[in-house]
């Protein structure tokens, strides 16, 4: 994977929001550098206000960087032609509420200069894909529930069969079933060889689908690496088994102690990404500036 093509290249990217008089107000992003490879599902994690969405918007050219630069699909963020191969799902689906589902997809299809036949075919396919009930496709979006809006939002992001999909909080507002559908969709996109960049604060989502993650806090990169590697604690060994008898457990403990193991605990495993996340946030508060980046290739 490390040898494959780089889709997104972020170098030393900073963003300072200014007030009306041009005075710096908030440093939303501070010297972020990372690379995303083709075919990866990359997750940007962080609490609210950590700079995830800002990063996405900088990549898309919606915001202009204060410092640093961005290459996306080999082009600069300001270059509109890059958008031909990108699909973007905004944080909340900011769509035109007075259009219905067909009109929405038709409109975005036109923006890609697609012909009428292409648009029609693609719309039907996408609406089926995102499982939008046929009876609601002719209703204006303002009547949609949050879940439905999310679905049509995904459909518009995929209208051009993009190579790079950027999803901002893809599962927010979805019920468990919808959540499952969304994760399947992302895995499906990965299977098709697309690159996916998503940001989320819902850890379970990320853990399930992402190859690599980065955790941002206060606009700074805190943790980055492969999900499985990050969660593998280097100085711990976990033993899993089916439920054992008390005698068996005791015997095992004795064996372990004989081999010099300390702090032996025998219990059920927990959701460890959450631990990692909380730990990172906690550490960041205690030790600002600290970084734990296992994935060396991304930092030049």
């Amino acid at each position: 994977m490390s040898q494959s093509e780089t889709v997104i290249e972020i170098r030393n990217l900073s963003k300072v929001y200014r007030d009306f008089w041009g005075r710096p107000k908030v440093r939303a992003l501070n010297a972020l550098s990372l690379d995303i490879k083709k075919g990866e599902v990359f997750g940007l994690l962080g609490p609210n206000g950590s700079g995830k969405t800002t990063t996405l918007k900088l990549l898309l050219g919606l915001l202009f960087p204060t410092e640093g630069e961005v290459k996306i699909l080999g082009k600069s963020a300001a270059d509109v032609s890059k958008n031909e191969r990108i699909g973007y799902l905004p944080e909340e689906s900011y769509l035109y509420r007075f259009l219905n589902a067909y009109e929405t997809l038709d409109f975005y299809g036109r923006l890609f200069d697609m012909t009428a036949a292409q648009r029609k075919e693609r719309s039907e396919k996408l609406l089926d894909l995102v499982k939008l009930a046929p009876q609601s496709r002719r209703r204006q979006l303002k009547e949609y529930s949050k879940g439905m809006t999310r679905r049509i939002g995904v459909a518009q992001a995929l209208i051009n069969d993009p190579d790079l999909v950027m999803l901002d909080e893809p599962t927010s507002g979805l019920d468990p079933l919808g959540n499952r559908d969304m994760k399947d969709l992302i895995l499906d996109l990965k299977a098709q060889g697309k690159t996916v960049l998503m940001c989320s604060h819902l850890l379970a989502d990320v853990q399930d689908v992402c190859d690599r993650i980065a955790i941002l806090y206060g606009g700074e990169l805190k943790v980055m690496g492969r999900v499985d590697e990050l969660l593998k604690a280097q100085d711990e060994t976990q033993i899993r088994s089916s439920k054992l008898s008390e005698a068996a457990e005791k015997e095992i403990q004795e064996v372990l102690q004989r081999h010099g193991a300390t702090n032996v605990k025998v219990d059920q495993p927990t959701a460890s990404l959450e631990d990692l996340f909380l730990k990172t946030v906690q550490e960041s508060r205690e030790r600002p500036g600290h970084r734990n980046v296992t994935d060396n290739q991304s930092v030049s």
Binding site: L60, V80, S81, Y94, Y96, F112
Partner: protein
């Protein structure tokens, strides 16, 4: 009838040069300000960004896609319709239901009243379509930014200039739709309001005006004008009866095409009578018309004709006229080699006066249908709407909706005839009482406009500021369009056809002059700004 169809002939070279200078200056100012802004926010790298952006802008312009523009146009259009912009028809309907309130008597229709009807319809239509377009164009993009729906558009291959263009076209189309519906209703309303026997008052006269008018005073010497009889309105000047005083018109390019189907030359006038003593009030004042050919020393005088004040008076001169037993042909014998026809009018009654202006005597060509003029007037409104749309949309890319709306409205308001003329007077120092600060001082101190300011060095500063403001006003005056070019409704309500050369063409030119700067400005503003509402 009583309006002055000024010659707004544009000089093509000067106009284009003027346009280039104004647009050039504006472009320079805009570019300079944005570069300063970029340097201020991004430091030295701002210069690079500035030139990158400039390059990107130019490339974008060559990658416009009609399909994308049309998609955005349709979006704008659908948005307007679904957001109930057409509710304006309710107001329109109400106004027309109760139009009689403003009109007075409908039983007795005089030519004057027809004018009031037509003005009412055209004014109502323009004042109803105007706010619709103003609101749509000024709030569309800011709302799109506020709701962030624009994010889903700019992250597609849509160029920002396409967004600007799509908005402009979409809003203009909806404006035109509203306009067309109202115009059709208005047309039927006018025709219905005017009783069958008065339908002939709905005219669309095609006048050919003299290119110049000269006056001769009572002693027979050339004069700048006739006599002023004390009217506040100096539009007409008066000639004295039974003296050598007369007015001379020169018509150019006189040929067969100006004659009616019977081969007669029709002169229409709207002279005004002024009596220095009342005399026999039952007897009107009389004038006569003389065709003269100075080259051949020929003159043909009509019989005395009564002045029919405040109405159209038609005098028909046959093509073949007889002078002292010899027959002459008007076109052959009276039109000079330079294709000019000289016409003189004098007053017959002693010590009485007849008032005339250049537009008071014209050759009346065969009339056109009323609807032709009417729809040309509607075209004038449509062009005004286009102008407002362009200004409004480009303003809305820079500032928030309400501010853009106020800005656009103020520009429109200043473009109106009286206001624009007042601006001219201010710029050229024809207004008494000094500039802004000075007049404020005079107002507060209860000083008359002609009173000397006290000798105080502070007034040097005041005058300097006023001078600066005045120069800013000079700039505004050149940028703000002059709506008098769009005065088609005025022609129609006065019963005239809308002339191509003095009304339609200039308004088309003015409108097109705004297309490029407005589109570019909107595009530029949308490009250099972050599309986040703050």
């Amino acid at each position: 009838m009583y309006f002055d169809p000024n010659e707004y002939l544009l000089n093509p070279i000067i106009s284009v040069l003027n346009w280039v200078v104004v647009v050039g200056c504006l472009t320079f100012v805009v570019l300079f300000v944005s570069m300063v802004n970029l340097i201020a926010t991004r430091g030295a790298s701002g210069v690079g960004v500035f030139f990158d952006e400039l390059g990107g802008m130019v490339t974008d312009l060559f990658q416009l896609s009609p399909r994308r523009i049309w998609a955005l146009t349709r979006l704008t259009y659908t948005e307007a319709i679904r957001r109930k912009a057409l509710a304006v028809f309710v107001v329109f309907g109400l106004l027309f239901m109760f139009a009689g309130w403003f009109m007075g008597d409908t039983k007795e229709i005089k030519p004057d009243q027809v004018k009031v009807y037509i003005s009412f319809v055209l004014t109502t239509i323009s004042w109803l379509t105007l706010p619709v377009v103003l609101i749509l164009c000024c709030f569309g993009i800011p709302e799109d930014i506020r709701l962030r729906s624009i994010h889903t558009v700019v992250t597609k291959p849509a160029r920002r200039v396409e967004i600007v263009l799509g908005r402009m076209i979409g809003i203009w189309l909806i404006g035109c739709l509203v306009l067309a519906v109202m115009a059709i209703v208005g047309h039927f309303w006018i025709v219905r309001q005017i009783p069958a026997e008065s339908q002939s008052l709905l005219t669309c006269r095609v006048p050919v005006y003299g290119t110049r008018i000269d006056f001769v005073d009572r002693e027979g010497n050339a004069a700048k004008s006739g006599v002023n009889v004390g009217d506040i309105w100096v539009f007409r000047s008066y000639i004295e009866g039974a003296t050598k005083a007369r007015a001379q018109w020169t018509f150019r390019n006189v040929g067969e095409s100006l004659l009616d189907s019977d081969g007669n030359l029709n002169f229409e006038n709207s002279f005004s009578a002024f009596r220095s003593y009342k005399g026999d009030m039952t007897r009107p004042l009389f004038y006569d018309i003389r065709l003269i050919n100075p080259e051949k020393n020929l003159a043909y005088t009509t019989d005395p004709q009564p002045v029919n004040e405040f109405r159209h008076k038609l005098d028909t001169i046959p093509r073949k006229v007889t002078i002292d037993g010899t027959q002459y042909d008007i076109l052959k014998d009276f039109v000079t080699d330079r294709k000019e026809l000289h016409v003189e009018v004098s007053c017959i009654d002693r010590e009485q006066y007849i008032g005339m202006a250049r537009s008071d005597l014209f050759i009346r060509m065969p009339d056109r249908q009323f609807w032709m003029g009417y729809w040309k007037a509607i075209l004038g409104i449509a062009l005004t709407l286009l102008l407002i749309t362009m200004i409004g949309v480009s303003a809305s890319t820079m500032v928030k909706g309400p501010i853009a709306a106020v800005l656009t409205f103020v520009i429109y308001f200043l473009s109106l005839k009286d206001n624009h003329q007042f601006m001219d007077q201010l710029v050229f120092g024809q207004v008494q009482g000094g500039g802004f600060l000075e007049s404020v001082y005079r107002l507060v101190m209860h000083m008359g406009p002609s009173q000397e300011l006290p000798a105080n060095p502070a007034f040097v500063v005041v005058k300097f500021f006023d001078w600066v403001l005045n120069n800013f006003l000079w700039l505004c005056r050149h940028v703000i369009p002059y709506s008098q070019y769009f005065n088609m409704p005025e022609f129609v309500s006065n019963g005239f056809d809308v002339p191509w050369d003095t009304s339609i063409l200039p308004s088309l030119l003015v409108t097109s002059a705004f297309i490029i700067p407005c589109v570019l400005m909107g595009y530029f503003a949308l490009r250099i700004r972050e599309l986040e509402s703050k």
